[in-house]
């Protein structure tokens, strides 16, 4: 499906999706964290969309908000979609896990938790993946300070 067809199809879901105006090779949309899991389930199960291959899951710190970017591809139709979700709570950010939809998310969400501190509901075992269990703070956040290991220019 072309970007426009995808956009029309997704608008029918009536989930208040915001499509990004910024030029990009992929169609990009923002979804509220309440609707995230429902939308993702639909993206995978809908026969016209069938986004079955989540090839990249990126943690993100936008300054005010924290969030996750999902890069999706359909191996049937070979079209792509980028889904962004944000949470304003920096103290205790929580999002729904999508590991039941794409098994690879279980591992990628561990990485996001390790570096951004975003907790995922229903994740089977949330743990520090790269860093040691006693590590304090989340290094890829923009406000992370480590005077010993970081060179600030």
């Amino acid at each position: 499906m072309s970007h426009q067809e995808l956009q029309d199809k997704l608008t029918e879901f009536d989930l208040g999706l915001e499509f990004s105006e910024e030029p990009s090779q992929y169609l990009t949309l923002n979804v509220s964290k309440e609707n995230l899991h429902f939308l993702m389930k639909k993206l995978k199960s809908d026969i016209d969309l069938s986004f079955d291959y989540a090839f990249c899951i990126t943690g993100m710190d936008w300054g005010e908000t924290l969030g996750v970017i999902y890069h999706l591809e359909s191996t049937v139709h070979r079209h792509n979609l980028v889904v962004k979700v944000q949470t304003e709570d920096r103290e205790n950010p929580t999002l729904d896990s999508v590991h039941d939809i794409w098994a690879t998310a279980e591992f990628h969400e561990l990485e996001v938790y390790d570096f951004f501190g975003i907790k995922f509901n229903n994740h089977p075992k949330l743990r520090r993946l790269f860093l040691t269990p006693e590590w304090s703070g989340y290094p890829l956040r923009k406000d992370y300070v480590d005077t010993a290991n970081m060179i600030i220019k």
Binding site: E22, P23, S24, Q25, Y26, T28, D52, Y53, A54, F55, C56, T58, G59, M60, D61, I69, H71, T75, R78, V82, W102, A103, T104, E106, F107, H108, E111, F115, L129, F130, L131, T132, P139, L140, M150, I151, I152, K153
Partner: protein, 372 residues
Amino acid sequence: MTNTLKDRFKTEEYFVNMGPQHPAAHGVLRLILTIDGEIIKNVEPDLGYIHRSIEKMCERDSYQQIVHLTDRMDYLSSNINNEAVCLAVENGLELEVSDRVKVIRTIIDELTRLASHCLWWGVMGMDLGALTTYFYAFRDREMINDIFEETCGARLTMNYNVPGGLMFDIHPNFVKRTKDFIAHFKTKIPEYDRLLTGNIIFENRTKGVGILTREDAIAYGVSGPVARGSGFSSDVRKHQPYSAYDRVDFKEILFTEGDTYARYKVRIAEMWESMSIIEQLIDNIPEGDIQAPTKAVIKLPKGEFYQRVETARGELGVYINSTGTKNPYRVKFRSPGFSNLSVLNHISKGGKIADLVAIMASFDFVIPDIDR
């Protein structure tokens, strides 16, 4: 009261650390194995032993500097990693590189893939107890490394690409030496086959071991030869061609068995395809500039740029989020090894520890690529 053999000799589950220093991991990967006797119940990877936070370092570096860091991820696909970042930056700057650059990049990519697969073949045999393969493979791989050394001065971490083109032109000997290597290597792969492929011990160790279905491969985001051994068509070179891949004719190798042996066969067949790609390009490298003019300080426009390339291990994705300054706001490397590792637990459950070694050898992990 039952008094069967099983009741009298009860077994218990226990933990074993495989790594971080284990020869079969070829790097510092720690796997926490839950085993019952010799049967694997669970594999939990623990990463970070070579984590350098390359993504965070990218946020303070300029775009030209980022290219250097990517050598150190998958050091066996260093040129392909470099190219991924350069393509993403060129895409952001809307910079068109010359045909000469595209063709040279593609040839060196394929030489890199050959060198990587060659090393993989050697260590796969070694992991399974056939030490001879290691010497055969390193003998032939040396010729590729010599070509690289003559071209750019480095044998492994090449750093030959810059945003806008190449750092310098190819060496006058490049074409001849590459052709010589192809002619040499064509006689060597049949030798590899005679030595290992049909070996009965090797076949018994790999056939039917670690079966990954196509559905699982997609769900777990597996890519590269591992995915293609399960019949999942995931070759970025075919689906989203970059550089000169749209002008060469090559097959995407697909096997449907999904076992360790299929993954082995995919890589052997891919070596033939790589040689065919190089042969199609090597005789007509177009004339042209080797660098498109760029500013000394590269500033990408505000926005997001994503580039997918096919490394020797699978799909590498480079995500750059720019706010219009000279440093990226966020860089993410979607490394093939990381996603492929996520399926390891799923397919090695129920097997023996020796099978896990065979499976890991067929996955061709490069640990710095997983840890970044």
